[in-house]
């Protein structure tokens, strides 16, 4: 009996084998927001998008390389006209989905910029998922990328498609 109990305990506590897709369903939030970005791209849509990313254009090729290995990209971004239009418990609900394999690698609080938390789903040395949570009084952005992710490669997309690159002095 103890053998079976131990077996079930191991199964229950083991991290999922596949990279984790979060539940990002926030009923009614879009109606309150003044601006909404809602992107849901599963593996099939990412393969389709990859076909239309140029293999010869260096910038689009970098994006193709990143996206080609992913299983999903999910973005929910809401802007509000007033403070306090969304329930902070929504953020807690997102965080509560992150199991033991998720490591918080960044937690910043800033007056001038967004507050942000960045989590990576680590399996050994490999990151198989990324979550970014930026929760401000008038803005909520959650990004969930599912699949093998290289933060360095992702950061290198800055400077492409006209996104200014950070200089050493911290100015674009």
């Amino acid at each position: 009996m103890r053998k079976y109990l131990l077996f079930f305990l191991l199964i229950a506590t083991a991290a999922p084998i596949h990279a984790q897709k979060l539940s990002l369903d926030f009923p009614g939030l879009s109606e309150k927001a003044s601006e909404v970005v809602d992107i849901t791209l599963d593996a099939q849509m990412l393969r389709l998008a990859s076909k239309f990313l140029s293999a010869t254009d260096t910038d689009e090729r970098d994006v193709r390389d990143i996206v080609g290995k992913l299983e999903g990209i999910y973005v929910r971004s809401y802007e509000f006209d007033k403070d306090g239009e969304y329930d902070r418990a929504l953020v807690d609900r997102v965080r509560s989905q992150l199991g033991s394999s998720w490591k918080k690698i960044v937690n910043v609080r800033s007056k001038k910029h967004d507050n942000a938390e960045i989590y990576l789903d680590m399996r050994g040395d490999q990151a198989v998922g990324l979550v970014v949570i930026a929760a401000e009084p008038r803005q909520l952005t959650i990004v969930n990328i599912v699949g093998p992710i290289d933060l360095d490669k992702l950061s290198h997309l800055e400077g492409e498609f006209g996104i200014p690159r950070m200089s050493k002095k911290g100015q674009p």
Binding site: I39, V75, V106, V108, I118, A134, I163, M166
Partner: protein, 96 residues
Amino acid sequence: MNLESQLRAALRHKQPPAGFRESALAATRRQPRLRPAWRAIAAAALLTLLAGGTTARWVEERREGQRAKEQVLTALRITTDKLRDTRETIHEASNH
């Protein structure tokens, strides 16, 4: 004046350089006109019929693919936006 009014003022129409119109018209005089559109439309319609709707599916897939591509780029822009903001904040904090 708020930013939007300032933008409208800054982005008012400007006249092109002297000689622009003459140059543009001169270029058109060297060009043949295309055949009337209805012939192209008829040809496309015939192709669609012959292809049994494949062309229409192909067009729809292209449209979906372009939309998906645009969404990928938007998603990655938002992500790198947040990563950059985070790095800026850390950088500022380490300089103080």
